[in-house]
Structure formats: structure tokens, C-alpha cells
């Protein structure tokens, strides 16, 4: 016999009470775990996706939409911007670098992005196999996209208009896969990258080839294109500032003086989080309510069972148990309950997230997984043990004070 075994026997002797208490706490912990793991990953994804991008410039419209579209690739473009106008901005003295993105097509919901090599470089993406694109209609596939679409180097496909399945198919232009990227844990894992000219070509925009290109008249944004073209368009620009002053001047300059819209990834994702935050707060409040109820329930269960067990307590004292031992037995019982609840809750939280990730493809695209653990989960466990201790404090004190004589003389 040992104290732990005794405590276990007491818990098993009341299976319904024990189950209720464990489940109540587990539900609360599960909700917290779910939010914790999901939020954590979302924030990590946002941080890794926005690194190196100070400002996104797109067509006039919702700045949040521009960010969701051009950084996370989960929304539609607000429209297009003129290449000439974008070039002028790219050459601005406050801009250190500008990466053009040209969107519009997808292949089986995976977005095709026309861009330059600077874009994968921004995320430190490297090739797993094949090579980079050199000619029009050559595609380098992100790791997740390649895996989900089962694309291999040399595969051909036709893009569809828009981001959903069943859009107008551009059958006349076949893309060919020339390379596949290693996973970089960012949005480009889900993309099919090509050059900007390919996107224009699919949409029958003609590139002026009549003038011979020299270093002076080549576009600063798109290699191989004449600068100052007034017909060509891109969707957005990812801009890196040259110095901190740019953060103050550039957005205002763009919004006031051009037909373009500037959106700050940091600001917009903070705004997104504050919008999501209301829902998260409600869920969290619900979780804390569950935990409070379970704490109350554990307290009542221990308090009541102690009334039934006062003879056990007195008998244990008569057999040589010290007061401290009885105190320890009761607090151990409370902590055993909350520890079980916490472990079940953690398992449940991860399980629910795994289910959620499996059911909803978008979360898979976002790279959310249930198989990660954070230090906060250890805090949850420590907190649960503390909760168990606090709940059992009053009953344990009563056990400590058991008057052997009075109880046994009854």
C-alpha cells in the first residue's frame, strides 16, 4: 500500500464522480489547448510570412484584403496596378527592394503566382529537385502544392481562372513543372511560382517585343520587359523600406498621390487578430467557466466524500498515520483528479485540432498541425496541479483536524 495507491483506490471507488470531475476539467483544458496551439501556430505563420515585407502595395481597396491576398494567398486581389506606376514606386529612394506579384489563376485551388526569383529568396526557399523557371509557362511548385497535386518535374497542366475549382480553364496554355521547392514553412509552400510574363500570356496580354532592350529601358520590376509600359499590369508589390523614415512617409505618399493602396502587414495582421480576438476571448471565457465549475465540483466531491470517510480517517490515525499524512492524502486526491483532467484535456485539445485540420483543407494549407507542443502546455499542467491543491485545501484541513476520539466514540 502507498498513499498514491490509496488515493487511486478512493477515486476508483467512485467512478461516476471521478469521471464527471475529470471530464469537466478536461473540456475546459481542451478548449484552452485548442486555442493555444492554433493561435500560436497562426502567429508563427504570420510572423514567418511577413518577415522581410514592410509594405504591400495593391489596387485601391481593403488593406486587409491586400494582405490576405498577397501575403497569405487566402483572398482575392483588390484589382491590378499599372506596371508603369509600380515601376515608378519601386525606384523611389525610400524603397530598398520591391517584388512584383501577378495573380489571377490557379490549378486545382493552388494559386499560380507570377513573380521574380526574389520572391522565393525572400522566404529562403531552395529547390528540392529540378531547376528554376527560365522561360514562360515554366512552373516551380511549392512543397505542399507539389505533394497534394502529386506534381513531378516534367508534368503539364492547364490553369483555371480564379482561385476555386471549376473556373474558366485556359486550356490553350499548358504550364510545365520544372522544379519543386523544399518546404519553407511559409505561404509559398502552397503556391505554383512562374514568371510574370506567363501570367500575362495566359490572359492574352501582349508584351511589346518591338524595341530592343537595353539596361536603361528595361523594367526595374520585371526582367525582359520594356520599362514604362502602359498596358501591362501586376497585382501587387511587396516592398522593403530603405530606412525607418519610409514607414512614416511611404504609405501616406502612396495612398494620397497614386491610384494604389498601401497596406502594412504588421498593422493589418494585428487588426485581424483583434477581430478574431473577440471570438477567442469568448471561447477562453467559456473555458475558464468550465474550469471554475470543475474546481467547484472537485471541491464539493472531496468535501462530501470526506464526511463519509471520517471513520477511515480516524482509523488511519489509530493505525499510526500522522495528521500530515492525512492532509497529504486528500490534497493528493485533488491533484490526481486535476492532473488526469489536464492530461485528458491536452489529449482532447490536440485530438480535436487534428480532426479539424483533417476535415478542413484550408487549415492544412495554412500549415497548421496538431502535432506540436508548447511550453504553455506545461504551465497548464502546473496550473492544474495547483488548482487541485487549492480545491482540496479545505477538505484536507478537515482531515488534518480529525478528532479521533470523538469520531470513534460515536
Amino acid at each position: 500500500m502507498s498513499l498514491i495507491r490509496l488515493v487511486w483506490k478512493y477515486l476508483v471507488a467512485k467512478p461516476l464522480n471521478t469521471t464527471l470531475n475529470v471530464i469537466l476539467l478536461a473540456l475546459g483544458i481542451a478548449v484552452i489547448t485548442l486555442i493555444l496551439v492554433f493561435n500560436h501556430q497562426l502567429q508563427e505563420k504570420i510572423a514567418s510570412n511577413t518577415q522581410g515585407i514592410d509594405l504591400v502595395v495593391g489596387a485601391k481597396g481593403s488593406p486587409l484584403q491586400i494582405i490576405l491576398c498577397s501575403i497569405f494567398h487566402i483572398d482575392f486581389p483588390t484589382g491590378n496596378i499599372k506596371l508603369a506606376e509600380a515601376e515608378r514606386l519601386a525606384k523611389h529612394r525610400l524603397v530598398k527592394s520591391a517584388i512584383p506579384l501577378s495573380l489571377g489563376d490557379s490549378y486545382q485551388t493552388y494559386r499560380i503566382v507570377g513573380t521574380t526569383r526574389a520572391y522565393p529568396e525572400l522566404y529562403g526557399a531552395t529547390l528540392a529537385e529540378g531547376g528554376w523557371w527560365n522561360n514562360d509557362l515554366e512552373v516551380v511548385a511549392g512543397a505542399t502544392a507539389a505533394a497534394m497535386l502529386q506534381l513531378k518535374v516534367g508534368d503539364r497542366f492547364a490553369s483555371a481562372h480564379g482561385l476555386t475549382e471549376g473556373g474558366h480553364s485556359h486550356d490553350e496554355h499548358q504550364f510545365v513543372v520544372v522544379g519543386i521547392l523544399k518546404s519553407s514553412q511559409s505561404a509559398i509552400d502552397n503556391l505554383l511560382l512562374t514568371n510574370i510574363q506567363s501570367v500575362w500570356r495566359v490572359h492574352d496580354l501582349t508584351v511589346n517585343h518591338s524595341t530592343t532592350l537595353t539596361e536603361e529601358n528595361t523594367s526595374a520590376l520585371v526582367p525582359g520587359v520594356l520599362a514604362g509600359d502602359t498596358t501591362l499590369e501586376v497585382t501587387s508589390l511587396l516592398i522593403k523600406y530603405r530606412n525607418p523614415i519610409a514607414a512614416i512617409q511611404l504609405p501616406r505618399l502612396i495612398n494620397a498621390n497614386t491610384n494604389m493602396q498601401a497596406a502594412s502587414p504588421a498593422f493589418e495582421s494585428a487588426r485581424l487578430f483583434s477581430i478574431l480576438g473577440v471570438g477567442v476571448d469568448v471561447l477562453m471565457g467559456f473555458a475558464y467557466l468550465l474550469i471554475f465549475i470543475s474546481a467547484l465540483s472537485i471541491f464539493i466531491a472531496l468535501y462530501n466524500s470526506l464526511k463519509e470517510r471520517q471513520y477511515d480517517m480516524a482509523i488511519m490515525r489509530s493505525m499510526g498515520a500522522s495528521k500530515a499524512k492525512l492532509f497529504a492524502a486528500v490534497t493528493l486526491e485533488g491533484m490526481a483528479l486535476t492532473l488526469m483532467g489536464c492530461l485528458l484535456g491536452l489529449a482532447l485539445g490536440h485530438g480535436l485540432l487534428a480532426l479539424f485540420v483533417n476535415l478542413i483543407g484550408e487549415s492544412q494549407k495554412a500549415g497548421v498541425t496538431a502535432a506540436v507542443f508548447y511550453a504553455e502546455e506545461l504551465y497548464l499542467m502546473a496550473g492544474s496541479l495547483l488548482l487541485g491543491f487549492l480545491c482540496s485545501l479545505v477538505p484536507a484541513w478537515q482531515a488534518y483536524r480529525t478528532d479521533i476520539h470523538t469520531v470513534l466514540a460515536r
Binding site: 490509496l6 471507488a13 477511515d312 490515525r317 493505525m319 499510526g320 500522522s322 476520539h405 470513534l408
Partner: protein, 209 residues
């Protein structure tokens, strides 16, 4: 083994009670007789160290009980004393065997499972080792509590009305068992009772008024 001298106890908010001097020798058995309310249980609890703050002297196994600290008294009780009560007070969450295991564990002694089997066999409960407490009859449960009391081979067994809830047949059996178990374990047995059926079996009597 047990020596009581000029002992009195002041009940809280009530009268004080004084007890006659007596001494119980090793291996001998004593009956504390008296009507209910005569202080049998109080005396037994004082001797067993379940109740303190008395006046006078109680020596058990040569130790002055009052001189022990609370923790030392707990240990002393676990090592030297075995208790049997009117109700069996077995721990319902545990099996028969586990109830017995509690005795050495709580007294801080090494658990010898063989000892539990041996004691249960002595009391005719060998087949009830794994039984749950709820499955036992009154008489069986009382025998289990006797088994628990002798688990640690105590020098003194204190029994408080061990037979008053039992019918004649079970009373007979339990008394025989208490005596034989005490003999096997070389323990001094002190039984507090108003049960007249025991008088003929135990010769040393102490009357409380």
C-alpha cells in the same frame, strides 16, 4: 504492559471522571465492565493515545503516553497498539487484503504480504483475501478488523465493544478468535464492554462506575 495510576479526565464542558488504578500484565486479558456512559471508551482511548490531556499516569509498554509528542504518539500507536471497535470501520474502497496492508504502511513498517495471509488464515478468512468489504457479513467484517489489529503484532490489543453488535454464535466465535489471536501474538488484550456474555470467558475484570 499497561499501567494506570490516579487517572482522571475532564470532559470539555462537562464533569470530570476518575478511573481506578489498574495494571495489565503481558499476555493476560482484561475486561473493562460498566454501564454505557461509565467511561469505558474514554479509558480505552486514553490508554490508546487517541485521547489526551488527562491527569495522572498511563504507561504502555513502559512508555509514559503523555510524554510523547503528537507525531511520536502516532508512531507509538502504530507499532505497539492494535484497535478493534464495535463497528468494524473497514475502508470500503479497499479489498480485505488491502485493508490489512494499510496497518504496516501507516505504522511505517515494511509490508510483508505473507503476514496478511497468515493472519487471515488464523481467522478463517483465507478465501476472502480479495473480497470487497461490502461482500462480507457482520461477523466476517469484525474478524477482518481483528486481523487488521494484529497485523503489526502489537503488544496490546484494545477492543471497544467488539461483540455487542453480534449474535450469540458470532459473539462466541469473535471472542474465541480475539483470545487465540492475542495468545498467538503474545499480546495483552483489554476489552471494554457491557456485554455480559464475555464475563465467563475472561477472568480479570475491572468495574467502572
Amino acid at each position: 504492559m499497561v499501567e494506570v495510576r490516579s487517572l482522571s479526565y475532564q470532559y470539555p464542558h462537562a464533569t470530570s471522571i476518575s478511573f481506578p488504578d489498574f495494571s495489565a500484565d503481558v499476555g493476560k486479558h482484561y475486561l473493562l465492565l460498566g454501564q454505557s456512559g461509565s467511561g469505558k471508551t474514554t479509558l480505552l482511548h486514553l490508554v490508546g493515545g487517541l485521547l489526551r490531556s488527562q491527569q495522572g499516569s498511563i504507561r504502555v509498554c513502559g512508555t509514559e503516553v503523555a510524554s510523547l509528542s503528537e507525531a511520536a504518539l502516532d508512531r507509538f500507536r502504530g507499532t505497539n497498539l492494535g484497535f478493534v471497535f464495535q463497528k468494524n470501520h473497514l475502508m470500503a474502497a479497499l479489498t480485505v487484503e488491502e485493508n490489512l496492508w494499510m496497518a504496516p504502511y501507516l505504522a511505517g513498517k515494511e509490508l510483508k504480504k505473507q503476514r496478511a495471509e497468515e493472519v487471515l488464515a488464523q481467522l478463517g478468512l483465507a478465501d476472502k483475501r480479495q473480497a470487497r468489504i461490502q461482500e462480507l457479513s457482520h461477523g466476517q467484517a469484525q474478524r477482518v478488523s481483528i486481523a487488521r489489529a494484529v497485523m503489526n503484532k502489537p503488544a496490546v490489543i484494545l477492543a471497544d465493544e467488539p461483540t455487542s453488535a453480534l449474535d450469540d454464535a458470532n459473539c462466541e466465535k469473535v471472542t474465541e478468535l480475539l483470545l487465540s489471536v492475542a495468545k498467538q501474538n503474545e499480546a495483552t488484550l483489554v476489552i471494554a464492554t457491557h456485554d455480559q456474555r464475555l464475563k465467563s470467558k475472561i477472568t480479570h475484570h475491572l468495574h467502572l462506575k
